[in-house]
Amino acid sequence: MSGSFLQKYSRDFVFFGGLLAIIVGIFLSQGSAYTSRMLVEAACYAIIALGLTIQWGYAGLFNIGIMGFIAAGSFMSVFVSFPVNDKFWNGPGPSMLVQPILILLIGIALIVGLRKIKQIPQGLRTFLTIIIFAVTYLLVVAGIEPAAKVIETDAGFIGGLGLPVFIGWIAAGIVAGLIAWFVGKICLGLRTDYLAIATLGIAQIIKTFLKNADWLTNGTLTVSPLPWPVPKPSDGNFTEARTIYFAMTAVVVIIIYMLLERAYHAPWGRMMRAIRDNEEAASSMGKNVNRRRLEIFILGSILMGLGGSMLITFTGLFDPSGFIDLNHTFLIWVMVILGGTGNNRGAILGAILVYIIWVMSEPMALWLFDLVRVYGLEWFNWQAPGDLDSRALQMRVFVIGLTIILVLRFAPNGMLPERIRQD
């Protein structure tokens, strides 16, 4: 029995064993500080990758706006957990913000209410919705603008609420889920190309908003240091603090993994795969395809928001311009499709492995291009351009793109393929 178990999971053992060996090797050569940082970040990426693997692997949803969910989630967690900014709360800011927020809520309530009244003909309803939207938008913008100016000059930015970080992380998941609900409601009935375009767009807009709304997010001035839910390295023991943080993220990854495994083998997971593999058959069996898709899209995005906020909390710095499509969207895609689409262990394996390679690739690319510079000058008398280092890092963009295509073409199932039960 144990033999067949070993045989059945031999790929898992080989790959995870190899991964462990790599980590031990890095630990021995680079020391604990480097390794612990890498492992924590890899674990956070694993949470995000699990979010993507259920969207893409369970349901075939094509989300390329992961960066947006990460950014929105991180901001929410910063807002909830950052210490209270007394200057803002004692100043005129809060009272100035009450009016636009009230108008916003009334506007939303009116639009939602209007959709519920079926007696009004469709055309008129659409017209009224647009009018209400435009009026609300203009009033809110007109209200926010002076408030923003006052807050920026008096208090810098609005600061946080000073609540525990765990609550911030939960809020991060909720916000990411709400955004997913909004996008999914509109796009999930259409082919998944539309979802790709819409998520790409919303990610860019979220980033632009966080970067420019200085009164809310401190914009490019960044927010730091972010509080940790556990003792910080600066409080004393450096290694211990990081180890505790790592243990915490590892526990979160394991809990999420176990829940997802359970969901995968439950009737719910079977139904999801049925929808993915044959939408028409599933819908003719009475499954509400769009509703299930919306469910899983929201669930995956919640994980992205959670993982993203844990990542940002660990780095201790919230910088809206630090969210980059390459690091926070495409890298995660590589993790998922390389690790194995639709296989949760594959997503975790891919996340950790790809992240290690990613971290290592930066000094490697710089070193490689330094060689090019030295020998180019020596052999061909070629004067390298001054921005060679920044160009060298562009090499990674190319490699990520190439990896995506190569994996899709030659190993579409990834390292740990989805297990199809043969009984």
Partner: protein, 332 residues
């Protein structure tokens, strides 16, 4: 009157400029979407690559001491269009066709096009760096000033803008004639309508696919070059350019080249009108406003930083109320 001229310069002309660029890009995307049935995410980077090829050719011509009555980059654009078209066919052959032959899910091809996007982006920035470049070497951008009756300011048009208008009009007319009159153009429309039927009626799919990429590639190179002639050559436009183009395609209806032109213009004008400072136009009527109404110095619908939100918003509205687009395209 000065205010009106300002409006024409800042809103109408620049709206038409950016609209033409979007339209040229959107024609290619909509044809690829209609015929090959996938959203081609690498299109914006194909535009950048085309512009870079023009830039290289232009520098070579400038180094050879070549002079011309039009900007050199405009001359260089035509060979660059051919090279980009060949590149597009090659990219299709190496990166997209294997997936088509295997009968992969279209989503896989979309993802492959994302891979191509990143590869093109990486290559352009690796060899070209990330800084912006001017498309003029030793030349000046010619500026035409057209006096406007009763105004102190002139309407300002630059040479690349005039060239862009002419090029767009000629290209759209040529495309219309090609699609409606020529055998290959009709075959393309047939494949777009019903690929299976087209195949069994003896249409050579290979030629149709090639033509699609040639049209997409040439127009992408032209749009990229024209955009960088008008402003500067920026290697990092990518997604900022892609979103309005996709919005234009979906607004115009997928597979509808005229829809793409209309959609591109609509998105271009909406963007510029949304960020335009309307207070300028209201200023002459300041006296006639009631006392309680104080004219703000800045009165725009959307701050300039959030320009990208405009095409996205239009996209969302269209997807909610009319997913087929204005011109009744396909919903794939």
């Amino acid at each position: 009157m000065n205010e009106l001229v300002f409006f024409i310069n800042k809103a109408l002309i620049s709206g038409a400029i950016i609209g033409s660029i979007y339209a040229l890009g959107a024609i290619g995307v909509t044809l690829i979407f209609g015929i090959l049935r996938f959203a081609h995410f690498a299109h914006a980077d194909m535009m950048t690559v085309g512009a870079f090829i023009s830039y290289i050719l232009m520098s070579m011509m400038a180094a050879a001491g070549f002079t011309a009555p039009v900007p050199l980059a405009f001359l260089a654009m035509f060979p660059a269009m051919i090279i980009t078209a060949l590149l597009a066919i090659w990219l299709d052959k190496v990166f997209y066709k294997p997936f088509r032959d295997k009968g992969s899910n279209p989503v896989i091809i979309v993802m492959a096009s994302l891979g191509v996007t990143l590869m093109l982006q990486g290559l352009v920035r690796l060899f070209g760096g990330t800084r912006a470049r001017s498309m003029y070497i030793g030349e000046n951008k010619e500026i035409y000033r057209i006096p406007f009756p009763g105004a102190k300011r002139d309407i300002i048009l630059t040479e690349p803008q005039v060239l862009l208008f002419i090029f767009t009009v000629v290209a759209v007319i040529a495309l219309a004639i090609f699609l409606s009159r020529s055998r290959l153009g009709k075959a393309m429309r047939a494949v777009s309508d019903n690929p299976d039927l087209a195949k069994i009626s003896g249409i050579n799919l290979k030629h149709v696919v090639w033509t699609t990429w040639i049209i997409g590639g040439t127009l992408a190179a032209a749009a990229g070059t024209m955009l960088s002639l008008d402003v500067v050559l920026k290697p990092d436009l990518s997604f900022g350019l892609l979103l309005p183009i996709f919005a234009a395609v979906i607004v115009g209806g997928i597979g509808q080249p005229y829809g793409a032109v209309a959609g591109g213009m609509l998105i271009g004008f909406s963007e510029t009108l949304a960020v335009f400072n309307w207070a300028v136009l209201l200023r002459p009527f300041k006296e006639s406003f009631p006392d309680w109404f104080e004219l703000p110095t800045k009165l725009a619908f959307v701050p300039t930083e959030y320009k990208l939100a405009v095409p996205f918003f239009i996209l969302i509205i269209v997807l909610i109320y009319r997913p087929t687009g204005i011109f009744k395209g396909k919903v794939i």
